[in-house]
Amino acid sequence: MKSEQAEIIRRARAGDVEAFRQIHEEYGRRILNFIYRMVDSREDAEDLTQNVFLIAFHELRRLQDAGRFESWLYRIARNEVYQTFRKKRSEPPLQDASMEMGEGAQPRVEPADDRPNPQERILHGELGSIIVKMLQSLPLKLREVFVLSVIHELSYSEISEIVGRSLLSVKTDIFRARSLARRHLRRYLEQKK
C-alpha cells in the first residue's frame, strides 16, 4: 500500500470526513460493482454500497492494519450482501401484480422516459445478459470467489481473507466457477478465436 493511501486511511480513522470522501472515490466503484455482481440489482447495489461506506466510517477505528483496508472493505460488502439475502429469504414472496389487479383496475403507468441509456443498453445486450445469467447460475459460494478473482483481480490470499475460507478451498472454488462460466460463455469465446 502506498504511503499516501495509508495517510488517507489514518486521517479517516481520526474522523476526517474529507479523507473518507477520497476513500469512497477510490473504492466506491469497485465495491458497487462487486455488490452489483452479487445481488444483480442496481438499486440494491447502490443502497448496500452506501451502507458499506457508512459502516466502514464508523468501524474504521477498529481496523488494526491499514494494509488490509481493501480486504476489510470487501468483507463488509460481502456481509451486507449475505444479510440482504437472509432478509429476502425471510420475507414473504410478493404476489403477482396481475393477481392483485381486479376488474376495472388501471394498468401501472410507466415513467415517461423509460428508454435505457447507452450503458444500460450494453449491460442488457446479448452478451451482457448472458454474463448476468452465468453469474446467477453460479452458487453464491462460487459466485463470490469468481467475481473477486476473475473480475476484481484480487489475489488468492486476499480472497481467502475476505470469504474466511482456506486458500485451498478458495482455489478449488475458483476453478469450479471458471469451468462453469466457460461452459456458459463457450459460444462467445469461440467467436473471439
Partner: protein, 172 residues
Amino acid sequence: MKTAGNHPEDLLSYVDGDPSDRRYEQIRLHIDSCAECREEIRLWRSMQEMLRAPEFEIEVPPLQWPQIQGRIDSHPRGLRWREKLAFLWSTRWPAWSTAFAIIVLIAVTVSGFNYYKQVEADQMFAIAIYSEAEWLRIRAADNPFRNLIADSAENPFARFQVTDKGNPSAIR
C-alpha cells in the same frame, strides 16, 4: 506432464499469475512446449478480458457521496460501550481478556459462597431464637399443659425434662 487434458486446474495459478504455487515454474516450462495448454490458457484469458470489460461495469451515481455524507452527519461517530470495552476481546490482548474472565469467575464464586454461608447462619440464628421462645413458653408456670407438652413424643423439645414444679432439669 499432461496438464490441460488431465488436470486443467493446474493452469489456474499460471493464468492468475500466482507464483506462490510450488509448481509454477514447472507449469510455465510445460506451457512453452504444449500447444493444447496454450490454447486452454488463451480461452481462460479471453474470458477474463470479456468479463473485465469496463462497459459491463456500472458507474457510481453522482449523488452517492452526498447521501453517505448526510448519513454520517446525522449519525456522528461516538464511542459506544462495545467500543469502549473492545480491548477485552481484542485479539491483540488475549492474555488480558483471559485474566479478566478468570478474575470475574473467582469474584462471582467467592461472593456466591459467602452469600450461601450468610443465609445458612441466618437460618441457624432464627432456629435458635425460635427454640428459646418455645422453651420459655413451655416452662411458664401458668401453662397447665406444660407436663403434657414436655413429655409428648411430637414435642421437638422432648429431650428437655420438665419437673412437676415446672423447673427444667439439665439436658439428658
